[in-house]
């Protein structure tokens, strides 16, 4: 059995480590390229979203490279993502590939399906051992995320351009070699020390938050390396989602540092229920990031993404309340780098211009709003946790 998976940000580090621990052969998915997109677009339904097309392309390239088992995550909720794995399985079967597709459903929502998927991957290992290995591997994956987050803080102010990237690659290399928990902790500590040692100067000129659909935020190929581009212009970037927060079972989002409940609470005045995907989280992040003093936000959404469209339709209301600039960009296979980056550059100019004239988002409005809401909840006898 040779297992492969789609490519998304750092997720392959996690999977490679996990499968190695479980004794399963893992094929590193061939890196995303124009060919991946071309293949995916050719065989995917036209109105499927961009992530569907790229991951389908990943699968085809992995099968070409010799993989016979594909791992894809499932999902629940109104977003179409939940049945992507199934659709992709059928498309690939229609193309005549021989393979097995293992769909990993969220363990809390579908414990039985999750268990079956695990059993298919490693039929002989005792369950507690699988659990232990997943935990250790997840801990390692989290370390990748923490280090990446730290790099996002250092890169905008690095003295020598490109130093952070070099150090980060080195740190990742060392971390991926660590096996036991002690080794991971050790490698992580060392990694942080190395990032700390990068010489910096000054302060970031702007603070920008990246919000929107998770795949576009996590996969640098899909967003044209937006984070790095912004960092190199001296802009501090905070990303609304990290790989382990997204796949992890807990709702506390340890890497991001803000729990799903908090996000939902922040979104509540504008959107009071789950709309699938990251729709509500996008709204919540706008509110919390404004509160944290961000200058502006960049919203990425795939063409035909329903949850993000729902969120987007609320933007005018939020913007009139909070006066926070939001640049909303739609990405699909037709998006061209130049046009994309031109809009980003103009947006940065806009933010800098505002900052020069001391026009800041109305973060006090949120306090007023949440106070009002607190009072309303108090009348029902509900207290904030």
């Amino acid at each position: 059995m040779l297992v492969s998976s789609p490519q998304m940000g750092n997720v392959h580090f996690f999977l490679q480590d996990l499968f190695e621990r479980l004794g399963v052969d893992y094929l590193f998915p061939p890196p995303n390229s124009r060919r991946t997109v071309a293949l995916g677009t050719r065989f995917a339904p036209e109105f499927a979203c961009f992530p569907f097309k790229v991951t389908l392309g990943n699968f085809i390239e992995a099968l070409e490279a010799g993989a016979d088992t594909l791992v894809m995550v499932g999902g629940i909720g109104p977003c179409r993502f939940g049945y992507y794995a199934e659709t992709q399985r059928r498309i690939l079967q229609g193309l005549g590939y021989q393979f097995e597709m293992i769909i990993i459903e969220p363990p809390l929502a579908h414990p039985l399906l999750f268990y079956r998927a695990l059993r298919r991957l490693c039929p002989s290992l005792p369950l507690f051992k699988i659990y232990r290995e997943i935990r250790a591997s997840f801990f390692k994956a989290q370390s990748f995320d923490f280090l990446e987050k730290r790099a996002l803080e250092v890169r905008p102010v690095e003295m020598v351009k490109g130093e952070t990237d070099k150090v980060l690659a080195q740190v990742f290399e060392e971390l991926s070699r660590a096996k036991t928990e002690e080794e991971i902790v050790e490698a992580r500590k060392k990694g942080f020390a190395k990032l700390e040692a990068i010489r910096t100067k000054g302060k970031p000129c702007l603070k920008v938050g990246l919000i929107g659909e998770f795949y576009l935020l996590l996969e640098p190929f899909a967003n044209f390396g937006l984070e790095r581009f912004l960092n190199q212009k001296g802009v501090f970037v905070e990303r609304a989602v990290y790989v382990t927060d997204w796949i992890g079972p807990s709702s506390t989002n340890p890497v991001q540092g803000i729990s799903n409940e908090e996000i939902a609470r922040a979104a509540h005045p504008y959107l009071s229920h789950f709309v699938g995907g990251e729709g509500r989280a996008t709204i919540g992040h706008i509110v919390t990031m404004t509160q944290k003093g961000f200058d502006g936000l960049i919203h990425l959404t795939p063409f035909t993404c329903m949850p993000e469209l729902v969120a987007k339709s609320i933007f005018p209301k939020i913007q009139s309340d909070l006066d926070i600039p939001i640049l909303s960009l739609i990405i699909d296979e037709h998006t061209e780098k130049t046009g994309f980056l031109t809009r980003i550059e103009a947006f940065l100019d806009l933010l800098a211009w505002r900052k020069n004239r001391k026009i800041t988002p109305r973060s006090t409005f949120i306090n007023w709003l949440s106070n009002k809401r607190e009072k309303k909840l108090a009348t029902y006898g509900i207290k904030r946790r």
């Binding site: 890196p31 124009r34 739609i330 100019d349 806009l350 211009w353």
Partner: protein, 329 residues
């Protein structure tokens, strides 16, 4: 006399502007790019040069538009800035209190919102070009009319006929249908303007309020029918500034002027001699990895001026970054 040069090379037109020390327009040139940006810039410079008196000294030059990096490599620009900011700067000069800028160019359309003379929001067409100048250009060609005559025809119409503006192709089938059922030409022409305006307001504004004063600029502003359609749709007058078709070039020239005056730097301008230089562009595929990036290269004789297009950055050469001139805004 000290002058500042602004060059805006867009998809359809190439505009050059000379500003004096005070930021007033001395002369300008508007010509079609016709897919040859370098040739257009050279031609424009030649025409401007032939009109100049000899005591002018170019103190600085800037480039904007979709070919801004290419142009910067050719003329040696001091400031490279995107067209959104350039257009806003120019509009502010002619209408200091402006709150909304409608800009419709050859292949893009944008709306910019300002407050207290600062850009606070903008939107640009992303996945559809139905609301742009090329649309009108196409339909004019279909009707067998020169685009310049659209203006008068549209003004003559009592009302416009209903034409779907969401998609260029469907608009065309609607238009053919109207022609075949015998509607007068001017009503069809004005109907096209209305369809374009409707598409623009729906697609770009997305329910955001439009506050007057509204400035309407870009090449399409030459079309008085468009202005009339906008005014009817919005219910208040729309200002078309005097140099509406070269506003991008004015904006970047203004920015260059501020930049040079505040920093006291010398210009990188390569002089009007460049009109006689031969430039060659070439592109090739890099086979370093599976991305197979297409690399474009511009050369002057044997010297490589700039090169771009690679994802990893290994081929990039020359000035490919926008100028960090935030503090001069």
């Amino acid at each position: 006399m000290d002058v500042y040069l602004g060059v805006d090379v867009g998809s359809v037109s190439t505009n050059l502007v000379l500003l004096d020390d005070e930021g007033e327009v001395i002369t300008y040139e508007y010509l079609r790019t016709q897919g040859q940006p370098i040739r257009a810039v050279q031609e424009g410079l030649k025409r401007i040069y032939s009109r100049l008196s000899s005591n002018l000294v170019v103190k600085g030059c800037g480039s904007t538009g979709s070919a801004r990096f290419l142009t910067a490599a050719v003329i040696g620009a001091d400031v490279v800035k995107n067209e959104i900011i350039s257009h806003a700067l120019a509009a502010l000069k002619f209408e200091p209190q402006v709150r909304t800028i409608f800009e419709i160019g050859g292949q893009d359309s944008k709306v910019t919102f300002l407050k207290d003379q600062v850009v606070v929001d903008f939107a640009m067409n992303t996945i559809c070009a139905a609301g742009t100048g090329s649309f009108l250009d196409h339909q004019a060609a279909r009707l067998g009319l020169p685009i310049e005559s659209f203006s008068e025809l549209a003004l003559k119409a009592k009302k416009g006929v209903q034409i779907a503006g969401r998609c260029t192709v469907f608009a065309e089938s609607d238009m053919i249908h109207r022609q075949q059922t015998g509607y007068p030409l001017e009503e069809i022409v004005y109907g096209l303007c209305q369809a374009l305006v409707r598409n623009y307001l729906n697609n770009l504004l997305k329910g955001k309020p439009v506050n007057p004063p509204v400035v309407f600029q870009g090449g399409v502003a030459a079309n008085k029918g468009m202005r009339r359609a906008f005014e009817e749709a919005l219910g208040f007058p729309v200002v078309v500034p005097p140099y509406f078709n070269v506003m991008g070039a004015i904006g970047v020239a203004l920015l260059t002027r501020t930049y040079i005056q505040k920093t006291g730097k010398d210009t990188n301008f390569k002089g009007f001699e460049i009109v006689d230089f031969a430039y060659a562009t070439e592109s090739f595929y890099c086979d370093g990895c599976s991305n197979n990036c297409e690399i474009a290269e511009i050369r002057q004789g044997k010297k490589i001026l700039a090169r771009w297009g690679s994802r990893c950055g290994k081929w990039e050469m020359g000035n490919l970054e926008e100028s960090q001139v935030f503090s001069f805004l």
